[in-house]
């Protein structure tokens, strides 16, 4: 077969914001032999097609566009001589002679096996598609995800159509509504099945309100019409059971339907490796070190759970790189771990375990929107943290830093408790 084999200390899969940040953090922690693999022809991941601004306010204290944000990391990765294999896909993770081995495939080098002391999964996420939301009707051309339209428009210079309807109010859909309006398209409406928008408030303002694009909350697309190309969609208000109502239904003519209906961590490779996944986040179950159920395999960024901001991805990956660095240099840590549980109104918490006596950062999302509510972190014995939130929403990931995880706690539980009057 002529397969080549390489050995590295750390192999990172994906050169997006997570992979790049994890690489730099590994290097900082003293690991020299690092390899990043990336299936696209340039590092930066999805940031390269996110040409809008809004990145970097946390990480760099200034507002950057996606490509600028990526370039900050790419530059330092280059300066540190960290090798990045482009146009290379990781196709499998296997154990060969007790060694974790990643099978890489590229046009240039064919199949290459790389064994690594630690692997960091940083593959990011992908968009939910029409099959995930089951819209009835025919299957004409002109229906695509908002992110795909973004790639066509911003990287290749093709507009997806002229008269656009967006289904789902996720940030990518909102950003594309503005982008396409600026480019001369007519965006007729954004249709959201939930009673609240999926994207950030600022994007509702600057991407929809600025252009008078209507946002129909609690509405669904009930039919797609068109033979070769999509011609129209039927929109209907929905009742409490998410069933469409006849009253108030209307038709929008369009030649393009963009789907912005959520993101799914891209974990096919993790599944092949045998990593245990969390059915709620769609990402790996991880410990305090962001290590998966397989020792030596770590996970961070959108492949672990979908983030709202690239800045938080970078921060999580920085932490992950440091933990992987410790693992490579000192072996598995012997530590006391305390499980973290979801309480009232909390959809998920991450990580699922934290280390006793140490600092921890817990990420979480709410199940439903609420106002004036306290986020409460408690152990089996006492409340250790209470913070008031004016507004919470499932579309906003929250993060709660714990100064020191109590050593004697049986568990930590995060919940939202309405304020007592």
């Amino acid at each position: 077969m002529g397969e080549l084999t390489r050995h590295v200390d750390a192999l990172i899969i994906g050169a997006g914001p997570a992979g790049l940040s994890a690489a730099l953090s590994l290097k900082k922690s003293g690991v020299e032999d690092i390899l990043i693999v990336e299936r696209e022809d340039a590092p930066g991941g999805i940031l390269l097609q996110c040409i809008h601004n809004g990145f970097g306010l946390n990480a760099f204290k200034e507002e950057l566009t996606g490509p600028e944000y990526a370039e900050r990391y790419v530059k330092v990765v280059r300066e540190n001589n960290i090798e990045t294999l482009l146009n290379t896909a990781a196709v499998d993770i296997v154990t060969l002679q007790d060694k974790k081995t990643v099978i890489l495939l590229s046009k240039k080098k064919g199949l290459v096996k790389v064994t690594a002391k630690a692997i960091i999964l940083a593959m990011g996420c992908r968009e939910r598609n029409r099959g995930n939301i089951a819209i009835p009707g025919s299957r004409p051309a002109g229906i695509m995800t908002a992110g795909f339209a973004q790639k066509m428009t911003n990287l290749h210079g093709y507009l997806p159509g002229k008269n656009i309807v967006v289904v789902g109010s996720g940030d990518i859909g909102l950003i594309m509504a503005r982008r396409l309006t600026w480019e001369g398209c007519r965006v007729k409406a954004v249709v959201e099945i939930l009673p609240y928008p999926g994207g950030l408030n600022r994007n509702i303002v600057q991407c929809l309100n600025d252009f008078g694009i209507p946002l129909y909350l609690s509405h669904a697309i009930t039919k797609i019409t068109g033979a070769r190309r999509i011609k129209s969609v039927q929109v209907a208000p929905i009742d409490k059971n998410l069933e469409p109502k006849k009253e108030g239904a209307f038709t929008l003519t369009c030649d393009t339907l963009l789907l912005s209906v959520g993101l799914i961590p891209e974990n096919e490779l993790s599944i092949r490796a045998g990593v245990m996944l969390d059915p709620v986040t769609g990402g790996a179950v991880v410990d305090a070190e962001l290590m998966t159920s397989i020792p030596g395999i770590f996970s961070c960024g959108n492949v672990l759970h979908v983030h709202d901001l690239a800045d938080f991805v970078s921060e999580e990956a920085d932490y992950c790189g440091k933990a992987a660095g410790e693992y490579i240099q000192r072996g598995p840590a012997k530590k006391k771990e305390i499980p973290v549980k979801t309480g009232h109104l909390v959809r998920y918490v991450l990580p699922s375990r934290v280390e006793a006596g140490k600092k921890a950062l817990i990420s979480l999302r709410a199940i439903a929107p609420a106002k004036n509510i306290n986020m409460v972190v408690r152990t089996d014995k006492e409340i250790i943290l209470k913070k008031k939130h004016r507004i919470i929403s499932p579309s906003t990931m929250l993060r709660v830093p714990i100064e020191e995880v109590p050593r004697d706690a049986q568990y930590l539980e995060v919940s939202f408790i309405p304020e007592e009057k």
Binding site: D41, T65, P67, G157, R202
Partner: protein, 121 residues
């Protein structure tokens, strides 16, 4: 007069309650940082936006170069900026920060590259 605004300066998206008269903002509440006040003042009297778009590039591995207005420009000029950009073509190599169009529509604001692109190999 009173108006509720959503601040778009950062992803927090604070809800601002703005009290103002014909010429001045009198008070802003609900903002969690100073930038909320500047935003309210601008948004009431002369709304400003950053424009991000693309221009054509030749000689690079990709056909488009992403660009932005270096600073915010009046909101009503945004679509004209995009139109101007779509008529421009630059040559590789380009570094992020390079000026693509100087002094856009006499605003004093430049359109700059947001990505570095080398000549295709």
């Amino acid at each position: 007069m009173k108006k509720d605004l959503t601040c778009i300066t950062c992803p927090m998206g604070c809800t601002l309650e703005v009290t103002y008269d014909k010429k001045h903002v009198i008070s802003v509440t609900g903002n969690q940082c100073k930038r909320g006040e500047t935003y309210a003042e601008n948004e009431i009297f002369h709304p400003m936006r950053t424009v991000t778009t693309t221009v054509r590039i030749s000689g690079a591995d990709v056909p488009l170069l992403s660009v932005k207005t270096e600073k915010t420009v009046p909101k009503k000029l945004c679509s004209r900026v995009v139109k101007l950009a779509s008529a421009v073509s630059v040559k590789a190599p380009v570094s992020a920060g390079d000026i693509v169009i100087k002094n856009l529509l006499d605003t004093g604001v430049n359109l700059v590259a947001t990505r570095s692109l080398n000549r295709s190999s």
